[in-house]
C-alpha cells in the first residue's frame, strides 16, 4: 500500500508540474501579434468630423437624421471624415473602421459608413454585410458620383456630405426629417413580443434589477436590445468590403 501511495505521489507531482508549466507557457506565449491596424478616431458620435469639413449646424443636422434613422430602423449609418488614411487604401481603412467600431446591429450587420478622406481626395461608402442587398455597389457608386462628387469638386465638402448622407438614408428606406416613418421598416422593428412574454420580461426586470437599479452597474443594452438614446455606440456589426469608392 505504501508503494502504491508513493507511486501516486510521484505521478501527482509530475502532473502538477506539467499543469503549471502549461499554464506558465500559455501565459508567456499569449496571442501572436496579428496584422497591424490603423489608428481610428474615437467613436464619439454618429458624425466624427476629424478633418473639420462640417459646420456645427450641419453636423447637428446630420447627427439628428442618423439618430432618427437608427431609432426607426435599427440600422446604423455613421459619417466619418479623417485627416489622413495613414497610408492604407480607403477600402482597407473603411471596412476595418467599421469592424473596429462595430457599426450596425450584431448578427444582422446592418451598418454603413460614409468615409471622407480629403487629404487623399477619396470618398467611400462602406456597406455592412446586411445592407449589401439594398445599398449595392452600383447604387453606392451612383450616390458618390451624383450626390457627393459634384459638390466635392467645387470644394463644397459640407454640401456633398449632407447630400450623400441624405441619399444613403433614402436608399435605406428613410422618408425624411420625420423620425419613425419608414418606407418598409424591417420586421423586427414592428413585431412586439407576445403578452405572456412581456409579463415575464417585466417580472424578470423587476426582480433582476429591482434593488440595484435598472441602469446601475450594467453597461450595454437593456433587456431587449434597445440602445441608449443620447449617446452612441456600435452595435457589433461587421463589414466585408461592400460599397464603392470615388475620387476627385
Amino acid at each position: 500500500m505504501a508503494r502504491y501511495i508513493r507511486v501516486w505521489g510521484a505521478y501527482i507531482w509530475a502532473i502538477r508540474s506539467l499543469a503549471l508549466m502549461l499554464c506558465a507557457i500559455h501565459i508567456v506565449a499569449g496571442q501572436p501579434g496579428f496584422a497591424a491596424e490603423p489608428k481610428f478616431p474615437q467613436p464619439s458620435s454618429r458624425v466624427v468630423d476629424e478633418a473639420a469639413l462640417l459646420s456645427a449646424p450641419a453636423k447637428e443636422r446630420i447627427t439628428g437624421w442618423l439618430e432618427a434613422f437608427e431609432r426607426a430602423s435599427k440600422r446604423q449609418v455613421v459619417v466619418v471624415t479623417v485627416k489622413d488614411l495613414q497610408g492604407y487604401p480607403i477600402e482597407d481603412f473603411g471596412y476595418r473602421l467599421g469592424r473596429a467600431w462595430g457599426i450596425g446591429e450584431k448578427g444582422r450587420n446592418t451598418g454603413a459608413i460614409l468615409l471622407v478622406a480629403p487629404k487623399e481626395r477619396t470618398v467611400r461608402i462602406e456597406v455592412g454585410y446586411g445592407l449589401e442587398g439594398e445599398l449595392t455597389d452600383a447604387i453606392s457608386r451612383a450616390i458618390i458620383e451624383q450626390n457627393i462628387l459634384p459638390a466635392f469638386k467645387d470644394g463644397n465638402y459640407e454640401q456633398g456630405i449632407v447630400n450623400g448622407t441624405a441619399a444613403i438614408l433614402k436608399v435605406l428606406g428613410w422618408k425624411g426629417d420625420t423620425p419613425g416613418v419608414m418606407r418598409d421598416a424591417p420586421q423586427s422593428a414592428q413585431e412586439l413580443p407576445p403578452i405572456p412574454l412581456l409579463i415575464f420580461i417585466i417580472l424578470f426586470v423587476i426582480f433582476r434589477f429591482g434593488r440595484s437599479g435598472f441602469f446601475g452597474g450594467r453597461h450595454g443594452r437593456g433587456v431587449w436590445g434597445s440602445r441608449s438614446r443620447g449617446g452612441f455606440s456600435g452595435g457589433g456589426g461587421s463589414f466585408g468590403g461592400g460599397g464603392a469608392t470615388g475620387r476627385w
Binding site: 503549471l20 507557457i25 501572436p32 496584422a35 461592400g242 460599397g243 464603392a244
Partner: protein, 200 residues
C-alpha cells in the same frame, strides 16, 4: 483510515490539477479555430464565385461595344471557365498542390479582368453605358470583397496554425486531435498585383 483516505485525496488533486491544466490550455481551441478557418474559406469561395458570375454579363456588354477586342474577351472567358471548372478536392486546405492550382486559376481570371478593364478605356461610349458602369462597380466591389475575404482567411489560418504549432496547443492537438494538420494559406501574390495603371 488514513491509508484509504490518502489515495482518494490524491485522486481529487490529480483531477483538479489535470482540469486546471486543461482549462489553461483551452482544449477546444483547435476545433474552434478549425471551424473559423472553414467559415473564412467558404467566404473566399463565395466571393470568387460571385466574381465568376459577373463575368458573362460583363463580357457580353463589352462585346456589344468593342467587338474587335476579341482576344482580351476570349482570355477572360477562358480564364473564367478554367477557374470555375476546377474540381476542388475536399482536402484542398491541406493540399499545397491543389491550393496553388486554385490560387493560380483565380489570379489568372483576376489578371484577365484587369486587362479587360484597361482595354475598355479606349471606348468612351462603353464607359458611359449605364449597364457597364453598374457591372464595373460590382466587379470593383467584388474584387474588394475578395481581398477582405482572403485577408480574413489568412488571419484565421495564421491563428489556427499558430495554435497547432506552438507548445500548449501542439500537445493538446497531439493527444486529442491527431488528425489536425497545418493549413495552406494565400501568399500575397494576388494582393500585391495591382490593376495595371492607365496612361493617358
Amino acid at each position: 483510515m488514513i491509508r484509504t483516505f490518502f489515495p482518494r485525496a490524491s485522486q481529487i488533486f490529480l483531477i483538479l490539477f489535470f482540469a486546471m491544466g486543461l482549462a489553461a490550455c483551452d482544449i477546444n481551441a483547435v476545433p474552434r479555430y478549425d471551424e473559423e478557418t472553414k467559415a473564412a474559406w467558404s467566404e473566399v469561395l463565395n466571393q470568387y464565385q460571385r466574381r465568376a458570375d459577373l463575368v458573362p454579363n460583363l463580357v457580353e456588354t463589352v462585346a456589344g461595344f468593342a467587338r474587335q477586342e476579341k482576344e482580351t474577351l476570349t482570355a477572360v472567358v477562358e480564364a473564367r471557365s478554367k477557374a470555375t471548372q476546377m474540381q476542388l478536392p475536399p482536402d484542398i486546405l491541406n493540399n499545397p498542390e491543389a491550393f496553388r492550382q486554385f490560387q493560380q486559376n483565380q489570379a489568372a481570371l483576376g489578371g484577365a479582368l484587369a486587362r479587360l478593364l484597361v482595354v475598355v478605356e479606349k471606348y468612351p461610349e462603353l464607359k458611359s453605358n449605364q449597364n457597364f458602369l453598374s457591372l464595373q462597380s460590382q466587379l470593383e466591389g467584388t474584387e474588394n470583397r475578395i481581398t477582405v475575404a482572403r485577408r480574413d482567411y489568412i488571419l484565421s489560418v495564421q491563428k489556427y496554425n499558430t495554435e497547432l504549432r506552438t507548445i500548449p496547443g501542439r500537445w493538446v492537438a497531439g493527444v486529442l486531435y491527431p488528425e489536425a494538420e497545418v493549413k495552406q494559406t494565400f501568399d500575397i501574390a494576388e494582393q500585391a498585383k495591382e490593376a495595371p495603371k492607365v496612361k493617358f
